[in-house]
């Protein structure tokens, strides 16, 4: 379990919309042949119940996505070191 500060979405489409809003705000991509295609990306909390999508907080996101929240994301355990 990992505590994450960020933005939580209950559908993938809402996460996609948030990502696109950040791209628009920062003008990404700048040029057609740029490698950079998104300002930020979302992740899938696959092991949580219910599952959800989220964007990890960064100060650059506050003007677009607002105040972040804190939530728990289930992460798998490492195999044991022997």
């Amino acid at each position: 379990m990992q505590s994450i500060k960020g933005y939580q979405y209950n559908t993938e489409q809402k996460a996609i919309n948030a990502r696109e809003a950040c791209d628009t705000y920062y003008g990404i991509p700048v040029a057609p042949d740029d490698v950079t295609q998104n300002w930020v990306d979302y992740q899938f909390a696959e092991l949580n119940t219910p599952q959800f999508w989220y964007i990890v907080f960064d100060e650059s996101l506050t003007p677009i996505l607002g105040t972040p929240t804190e939530f728990e994301v289930v992460t798998p355990l490492f195999p044991p070191i022997v």
Binding site: D34, V35, T36, V40, I81, V82
Partner: protein, 268 residues
């Protein structure tokens, strides 16, 4: 440590991949093959998010071109070009996930050599590398903080992911369902020159040219190598300067390759 201008001595041929050819993929802040004519990295600067390729000067990363382009701002690596000739470039299309190489106009360095700083950043390989019977992996890096990792190469899933990774108390060399682990002191205080040979029952882990562990990794694991700086959901907090992968058993060259790396990076 930050350096505002070029300061490094030139590398002279033969270079690492001239001496030990046949790498499946090779990423570095130094030139690795004399006949390689491409760039080292592609960089995005924070001032206007413009991008530019940066090449080599005297066999080193062209830090003058890098600082000129970034012009007092931050620089982030969008592409770490594969110097092997295989065209397996490591890219990151999301700005927030691009490792940093320039801070406020100065190249970020360690031991006077440029590093790519991964702090929840990572690269995806533009084509995955399927672990076969024999693999040899060499890397230069530093795990920065407890609770985070240093991943020279990883797969997309958390468990049973093919990977080479340093965690808090040891090292993973994983195939599909089998893996070697070796307990090791936290590597936050020194740089790692890691050599890994995956060759069935005779797989091995080296650090700074010292054999740490041997064990069995099954042939042809299900998971592909596809990332640098992350495996599954596990992010790095690390500095990485070089990753070289061979799809062959380089055990006979292991010591010489590690020595070549150390001659340049002065790790141990």
């Amino acid at each position: 440590m930050l350096f505002p201008f070029s300061f490094m001595q030139s590398q002279t041929a033969p270079l690492l991949l001239d001496l030990y050819p046949g790498a499946a993929a090779a990423y570095s802040v130094r030139k690795l093959r004399t006949s390689y004519a491409g760039s080292a990295i592609r960089v995005r600067r924070s001032s206007d998010n413009a991008e530019q390729n940066i090449g080599f000067s005297g066999g080193n990363l062209d830090t003058s071109a890098l600082t000129t382009f970034c012009s007092g701002t931050n620089g982030f690596v969008t592409t770490w070009y594969d110097q092997s000739g295989s065209g397996v470039n490591a890219t990151q299309t999301t700005a927030a996930n691009q490792p940093q190489i320039v801070s406020s106009g100065s190249v970020i360095t360690q031991n006077s050599k440029p590093i790519l700083k991964f702090n929840s950043q990572f690269f995806e390989l533009n084509s995955t590398l399927t672990p076969a019977t024999n693999w040899s992996i060499f890397g230069v890096g530093l795990k920065n903080v407890p609770g985070k990792i240093l991943t020279f190469i990883g797969g997309t899933t958390d468990l049973n992911s093919a990977l080479v990774s340093y965690v808090d108390n040891g090292i993973y060399l994983l195939g599909s369902t089998n893996y070697i682990t070796i307990g090791d002191a936290p590597v936050t205080s020194y740089r790692v020159n890691a050599g890994f040979v995956i060759s069935g029952s005779a797989s091995s882990i080296y650090r700074n040219n010292v054999l740490l562990s041997t064990g069995s990794i099954p042939a042809s694991p299900a998971q592909n190598f596809s990332r640098i700086g992350k495996y599954g959901t596990q992010y790095d907090d690390s500095n990485i300067s070089e990753v070289v992968l061979y799809q062959s058993n380089q055990l006979s060259n292991n010591s010489d390759i590690n020595t070549n790396i150390n001659t340049y990076y002065a790790i141990y």
